[in-house]
Subunit: 378 residues, 2 copies
């Protein structure tokens, strides 16, 4: 929970202004926002149980008694250059339905066409809300905000760098502590403690950590399996700084790699480098995916290659673009994407190497800098 | 991630059977389940990105390559006494839409009326899915599963007891470590580490921990504020055991209580006892809420009383019944509810006392046993 620093107010005002331009261009009188990442992106709100309403002139954040003080701390910034504060409304959930509050506000501003985030409200909740909004044209909001969030401004880039650096530091501190006999759960717990101690706001996502055959589970939840000599080890985790997330995977072998393990690691590493070699503004996700998947497909591990290359990352873990065989999205400077090819042999083991990369004019900057040594001397 | 023990299979079979009876009674050919808590309740699945389909004879769990091995580990139990396994489907998300998979399955079973969890699928996702299901009658699923989950069976009660005991033990271990000058964040981090070390599967919810004036925020996220002599301290947190959650709040004062702090504590404590005195099967949530709120309303802190008394807790943190002024739900043996009156004076401080209580025939069992001493000698 943090008040918005004065210096960042222009950034937030710009975001609101861009959305208003989109509203004007598409004939919308108001926008209703539910997604937590968009409440944070537009209003600096990091609580729960809220929605945001935006008109051409005003903005409202509606929550209840549990979060109203947090909203006051975080969101009472003035809309820069306009001198208008976002108005905070504390709804008494027992006395007034959300639709009633919205109906009142929308009538006040004379709205006739409202766009709502249809991907972030359930069928039943929307049925209930919209019953209180008769006579209004209700249309799903386009993916304007999703696309807008792809390109990170200078401040956002700094948060992403810090989140990646925190994850690097946590892994750096963890590695000397890894011992044979430790369970996946013990190691994951220790890693998460290090992330917290280093200042991460929480976990970017539940840590994925698998030993031996369990390393082949792309989303393995840590179990009680102890680390054994020769095991593959996959660690996939991230830190959070001011809401911005990192996402990194490192793969190791406990001791000396067997020849097939080393070949598998080299194949994944080569696939990742093939994609990174093309990573700069203008390239599309399909082309990047192809660069990596061509390497995997030409290897002895072809049938075990994981699908997809990576995804955007920012205020949420998985965001646009999703780089796979059908991704025509062209990358732009300021985007942060993961590049994470992997091979998963069921019952035997898998590995993945994943970095966060920030697109810059003419190239990119790798944000994840943790060591890449495959063999851990244990 | 845990395979379903043989001994629990009859319990899960019973859950499926009860839902099938409901389907037969309400003329449903199939049910489509999205809620994570219901995928766990019916199929023992604890992963993400899945949905479950149930017909009168069969059951299917649909996920993708990331979670299919987890599903195989967790869900391949046979439907007890029927010898039929839940069929697991690994969807290639790039090649086949979820609606296409569902359309195929529903055609195979000759379904004409499908109930879906309208509260757990977004408007846009459902628009996409339902476009692939022409000719089917699509109706929202009633709250049958929500109501079914309220009453915990003997095994579930044991998980709830253990989750509460873990939280007790974590607080017990934390208390001697509390020092003046520690920040809310440091203390919360340490508490969360203790929960993990003691074996909690994760956090029941993000820890709420506030000092001084910040204790008045009902959902305060831990900040860098250091603990000062005389501060009120609110700790609200929980553990998770096999998916089942605990939820407990303890409130303290750092040092000797000022008279108003002690009166506030005594008022909240009396309010809680007033509700607990009536807590047994047959009572409704409104009556319980009234018992506590009458005490609060008669006190000098009337205008600062928090609304609502508590909620059900289980596989999710907040579940039916929600005990407030309009709650007519009658409690039954086997339910677990929180009893958590609170007083919140904005800018000054607040406190809350919260216990999990299991309803038993003729009475209840308090699951949260952590000390209730108000003053901490620091």
């Amino acid at each position: 929970m943090n008040a918005l620093p004065q210096a960042l107010q222009p950034l937030f005002a710009q975001r609101l202004a861009r959305l208003r331009t989109h509203m004007a261009e598409t004939g919308l009188d108001a926008c209703l926002v539910f997604a937590p990442e968009h409440l944070r992106y537009l209003f600096n709100y990091s609580g729960e149980a809220a929605c945001g309403l935006l008109s051409a002139r005003g903005s409202w954040l509606i929550t209840d008694y549990r979060f109203i003080e947090q909203a006051e701390e975080e969101c009472m910034h003035h809309e820069w250059r306009r001198g208008v504060a976002t108005e905070l409304l504390c709804r008494d959930r027992q006395r007034e339905r959300l639709g009633q509050v919205l109906g009142r506000l929308l009538a006040d501003i004379g709205a006739s066409r409202l766009a709502y985030e249809a991907g972030h409200v359930s069928v039943s909740q929307w049925a209930e809300i919209s019953a209180d909004l008769p006579g209004l044209a209700l249309v799903p909001l386009s993916d304007f905000l999703v696309q807008a969030r792809r390109v990170k401004d200078a401040w956002e880039q700094q948060q992403m760098r810090q989140a990646a650096a925190l994850a690097d530091a946590a892994l750096e501190a963890l590695r000397p502590e890894i011992r044979l006999g430790q369970s996946e759960r013990q190691l994951a717990t220790r890693l998460e403690q290090l992330l917290q101690d280093l200042g991460s706001e929480g976990l970017s996502f539940p840590t994925i950590l698998g030993f031996g055959p369990r390393s082949a589970l792309p989303h393995s939840a840590p179990s009680d399996r102890p680390l054994q000599k020769g095991d593959l080890i996959v660690l996939d985790f991230g830190a959070v700084v001011n809401g911005y997330r990192s996402d990194m995977t490192r793969s190791h072998v406990a001791g000396t790699a067997l020849p097939w393990q080393q070949r598998m690691y080299d194949t994944v590493s080569t696939a990742q480098q093939a994609a990174l070699a093309l990573l700069k503004p203008g390239v599309n996700g399909r082309t990047l995916n192809e660069a990596a998947s061509t390497v995997l497909a030409a290897s002895e591990f072809a049938e075990h290659a994981g699908p997809g290359l990576g995804h955007g990352v920012g205020l949420i873990l998985h965001e646009q673009p999703f780089m796979n065989t059908v991704c025509e999205a062209r990358l732009r400077a300021g985007e942060v994407v993961t590049i994470e090819p992997g091979i998963y042999i069921r019952g035997q083991g898998g590995l993945r190497i994943e970095d966060d990369a920030l697109l810059l004019e003419g190239g990119h900057e790798i944000l994840s800098r943790a060591h890449r040594d495959f063999e851990l001397a244990l």
